[in-house]
Symmetry: C2
Subunit: 116 residues, 2 copies
C-alpha cells in the first residue's frame, strides 16, 4: 500500500521533470529568456500546453514571467535561480543521449529484424 523507499523530494522532482514538455521548456530557457511564440516554435508545443506548463512552473518558482508593454506586447519567460539550478540535470541527460542514443538519419523505414 505505502511506498516506503523513495525520498519524497526526489519523487517530487521527478514528478515535475516528468510532466510532459517540462524538461524541454526548462532546457530551452537555460540559454536565454524567451517569448511565448518563440517557444512554441522551437519546442514544438501547442499554445494551450505551453501556457498551462508555464503557469505551473511559475507557481513552482522555476520560471519567471516578465511583461513589457510594448506593441505588440512582449512577454519574456526566464528561469529563476531554482530553475537554472537544473542545468546539471539537463547536461547529464544530454551527455547520456550523446553516448547511448544512435544518430538517426533522415527517414528510414524501421523494420524489426526478428522479433519473433
Amino acid at each position: 500500500m505505502v511506498q516506503p523507499e523513495l525520498c519524497p523530494r526526489f519523487e517530487q522532482a521527478v514528478g515535475m521533470l516528468s510532466r510532459r514538455w517540462n524538461a524541454l521548456i526548462i532546457f530551452s530557457l537555460l540559454g536565454e529568456s524567451q517569448r511565448f511564440c518563440t517557444m512554441t516554435e522551437s519546442i514544438g508545443i501547442s499554445n494551450r500546453l505551453l501556457s498551462e506548463r508555464l503557469k505551473e512552473l511559475e507557481k513552482e518558482g522555476i520560471v519567471t514571467r516578465d511583461v513589457y508593454p510594448e506593441t505588440p506586447v512582449r512577454i519574456e519567460y526566464s528561469l529563476t535561480e531554482k530553475g537554472r539550478a537544473l542545468a546539471p540535470v539537463m547536461q547529464e541527460i544530454q551527455r547520456w543521449s550523446q553516448e547511448w542514443l544512435p544518430v538517426q538519419e533522415a527517414v528510414q523505414d524501421e523494420q524489426e529484424p526478428s522479433v519473433r
Copy 2:
C-alpha cells in the same frame, strides 16, 4: 512547423525519461535488480503500467528481464549498461531536489487537494 533548435538525441532521451514512471523505475533498479511485485510496492505503480513500461524499457535496451523458473516463478528486472549510465542523471535530480525542494511535513491541509 519545424522545430529547428533541439538536438534530436536529447529530445529522445527526454521523451523516454519524461514518460510517466520511467525515471522512478530506473532509479529503483539502480540499487539492485528487483522482481515485479517488489517494484509495484516500492514505486506505487499499478501492474498494468509497470508491465507496459518494463516492456518498453526492455525494447529500448535499458532494462533486462531474467526468468528464474522456481516456484512461484521469479522474474528479476535489472538495468543494462545503458540503463546504469543514467545514474548521473538521477544523481543530479536528487541533488537538485535536496537543495531546492522543501521538506514536506506529515499531513498539512493544503487548500488545493492536489491529487496530481
